[in-house]
């Protein structure tokens, strides 16, 4: 049938046969949709009172769903057929970006950074936008941290949120029990998270890909369950509140200064505004994220970074060359965890309140989706994917309860559209000869 479509234009008999095929295909899809919709859409359970259930029918929904699938499938196939004859090479802006030179990439990065820095003073910016920007940057930072583990070292980590949680709780506990401020606690958050990464990594890193995935997932759940149940320390499901906000070199962001200290607004002779803190937090996470990026880019040029990428490509060859896989993996795991810990520390100070609810598997999945969607290993791809995945549910607020439904569907659709990620840029940092043209186009 694939071959036949090419001749469809010249051969009318073949074309009508193709139409029959398409209609039959759409009909089958509609039949499947009917069967899918019948039990869950067509019949709805409801409370009749007294703890009993009743069933009511909604067969009109089933008809609508089947019709929608029929039309959708038909349109999709026709579109597919129309575009299939064109060259596959012109894959749009993203593909040209993928094959772009490093100069163009750095231009894009510079523009992005300039935009990010200027965001708070741009005419259309608002408190909501800056808040959203802060959230995006948290995910960018988490994405870059996980990118070291997944993108560079090629280890599948499904429990990354555990390190994020460890960082957040480390800061919350240090602030509550020892009175440390955000800046004092930040290094500890990273260190403790890295410690957890190494402790987890040590026994499990000799496992292969998917076994590692389930163990990390389990570890993430263990951390969350411990946080929920260890009430005397972690506050249980209620979490920890009143986490101190960061200060600007010792100048707090407050309306009135506590006992003689100067506030940020007083020191600079400004009118107090709650927006100052929001903007400050935005710049803090921007700086943290940029440092993370710089750190990662430098690491990639060090022997350890080279070893990560080599290990991702071929573990057996690495062993033959005398690289100790366990140590190399452990360092990736530890450093990734440390970055997650920093992000967690920032998250805690930004929210002022943390509870285990913020550290569910869905978070891990979102971060992993950002990395994979961005094109594992690509720094800019992570930024694009983070913007996409954070703003998508925000835009979907208009759809209220359908928000997450659309989010899930969008994840599937984007993966089907670009299975290698938005920017499939997995070129090794180091290679001996210029790569041949076919390899770059791949």
């Amino acid at each position: 049938m694939t071959a036949a479509s090419g001749f469809a234009a010249e051969n009318p008999a073949r074309a009508s046969a193709d139409w029959a095929v398409e209609l039959k295909d759409a009909g089958l899809a509609a039949l499947a949709a009917t069967l899918l919709a019948l039990p869950l859409m067509g019949l709805q359970t409801y409370d009749v009172g007294g703890g009993a259930l009743g069933v009511r029918t909604r067969f009109d929904w089933v008809v609508v769903a089947a019709a929608a699938v029929f039309a959708g499938r038909l349109i999709l196939r026709i579109c597919h057929r129309l575009t299939r004859r064109r060259e596959r090479r012109s894959d749009g802006v993203l593909a040209s970006l993928t094959a772009s030179t490093s100069r163009r990439t750095s231009l894009l990065a510079a523009t992005g950074i300039a935009f990010a820095v200027a965001l708070p003073v741009l005419p259309f910016s608002s408190r909501y936008l800056i808040d959203l920007g802060t959230t995006v940057l948290i995910y960018v930072m988490l994405g870059w941290g996980l990118n070291i583990v997944v993108g560079l070292a090629g280890l599948l980590d499904l429990g990354y949120v555990a390190f994020y949680a460890v960082g957040a709780y480390t800061f919350a506990l240090l602030a509550r029990d020892l009175g440390l401020t955000f800046w004092q606690a930040l290094p500890f958050s990273g260190l403790v998270a890295a410690g957890f990464g190494v402790i987890l990594g040590f026994p499990v890193l000799r496992l292969r890909g998917d076994y590692l995935a389930i163990v990390t997932l389990g570890f993430g759940e263990i951390i969350r369950i411990v946080l929920v149940n260890w009430s005397p320390v972690t506050g249980g499901p209620n979490g920890i509140s009143d986490i101190p906000r960061p200060s600007f070199f010792g100048l707090p962001f407050a309306r009135s200064s506590p006992e003689g200290a100067t506030t940020f607004a007083q020191f600079f002779g400004l009118e107090f505004s709650p927006n100052q803190r929001v903007v400050f937090l935005y710049f803090v996470i921007l700086a943290l994220a940029l440092v993370t990026n710089l750190f990662t880019l430098r690491l990639r040029k060090l022997p350890i970074g080279r070893a990560w990428e080599a290990l991702r490509e071929d573990e057996v060859a690495c062993r033959a060359l005398g690289i100790n896989p366990t140590n190399v993996k452990l360092s990736a795991f530890g450093i990734g965890a440390m970055l997650g810990g920093f992000a967690g520390c920032f998250f805690a100070t930004r929210q002022g309140f943390i509870s285990p609810e913020s550290f569910t598997f869905t978070e891990s999945a979102t971060i992993l989706a950002i990395v994979v969607l961005g094109g594992a290993g690509s720094q800019i791809g992570v930024v694009l994917a983070a913007i996409l995945l954070v703003t998508l549910p925000e835009l979907g607020r208009a759809f209220a309860e359908f928000r997450m439904l659309l989010f899930g569907a969008a994840m599937v659709a984007i993966m089907a559209w670009r299975p290698r990620g938005l920017l499939a840029y997995r070129e090794p940092s180091l290679h001996l000869a210029p790569r041949p043209r076919w390899a770059r186009l791949r």
Partner: protein, 304 residues
């Protein structure tokens, strides 16, 4: 002793359910080497379809319990397997041959989608189900504590054993099973030798979904309530079970399921209930440290 026996029975029941779900994971992994993250949601959908089928049969006036159960079992398996088929067709088939992580993300997206789909369509509140099968045997009595094996527990264990036996026969003797084993060994070679790979994969997803549906029905009967979020935890535990037993191995999945069920039952019986979800993971990590391919898994060959 009596308490121990009771926990053993509870654990076996729970483990049978986990084992049924785990088979779906292990079969899919064995053939296309991917973690079907949406499988937990398929099980949840199975539970919902079973409760709806029970209600419809109740309205239709089917009062004979064994007949009603048999009918519900068949309808649930049928409709849930179509969900399994659709998930593979929509979310995984377009991604075949792409990098290993792509189908995983697609699976997570599917899981989010199905979770919200059921929540929107059926409501967020738990669905209660009056107990259908009551009573049981008292096996042993001592010091005011009696060990009971309810008819329902017996039914769950027996149905699981029957399905396991049936499945092993299908895999070992039929042409479909032969095709599945061929795909497991080398999917490309199987395709060259005339095995319809797409069809085999679809069938595998449908079989896995049908088993998950049975597990869903059992859970509905056992706990008497169904939520839209039961899929995640059950899915994770079943996957843990599959990995514990050695992913890709059918007896391994069953063994792992039973082990996870027993560990949970004994942990909550003798230690704390709060940390029962931790116990399974802790044992998994311990086992994997000493046997990196699971209990019954074959070691993977590394080739340069």
């Amino acid at each position: 002793m009596a308490y121990f026996l009771q926990q053993l029975i509870n654990g076996l029941t729970l483990g049978s359910i986990y084992g049924l779900i785990a088979i779906g994971y292990t079969m899919v992994y064995g053939i296309i080497g991917m973690i079907n993250f949406a499988h937990g949601e398929i099980y949840m959908i199975g539970a919902f379809i079973s409760i709806i089928a029970l209600l419809v049969l109740g309205l239709a006036g089917v009062t004979c319990v064994p007949l009603a159960l048999a009918l519900v079992l068949l309808t649930t398996m049928f409709f849930t397997s179509i969900y399994g088929w659709a998930v593979e067709r929509v979310a995984y088939r377009p991604l075949r041959g792409s990098p290993r992580l792509a189908p995983l993300i697609s699976a997570i997206g599917t899981s989010i989608f199905l979770l919200n789909y059921v929540q929107i369509l059926q409501g967020a509140r738990g669905k209660p189900m009056p107990p259908l099968i009551q009573g049981g045997f008292t096996l042993y009595e001592s010091g005011g504590f009696s060990v009971r094996l309810s008819y329902l527990q017996l039914l769950i264990i027996l149905v699981t054993l029957a399905l396991m036996a049936g499945f092993t026969t299908v895999i070992a003797t039929t042409s479909l099973g032969r095709a599945q084993r061929a795909c497991e060994q080398d999917i490309g070679m199987a395709a060259l030798l005339g095995v319809n790979v797409d069809q085999v994969i679809s069938t595998t997803f449908m079989m896995g979904a049908a088993l998950a549906a049975v597990a869903g029905l059992m859970v509905t009967l056992y706990y008497g309530v169904v939520d839209f979020f039961i899929g995640f935890l059950a899915g994770v535990k079943a996957f843990t079970a599959a990995v514990l037993g050695g992913i890709g191995s059918l007896p391994g999945a069953m063994l792992g399921g039973v082990l996870i069920g027993l560990i949970e039952a004994f942990w909550s019986g003798y230690f704390t209930v709060e940390y029962k979800d931790v116990s399974g993971f802790a044992v998994l990590i311990l086992v994997l440290v000493f046997r990196p391919t699971g209990l019954l898994g074959r070691p993977e060959l590394e080739k340069v």
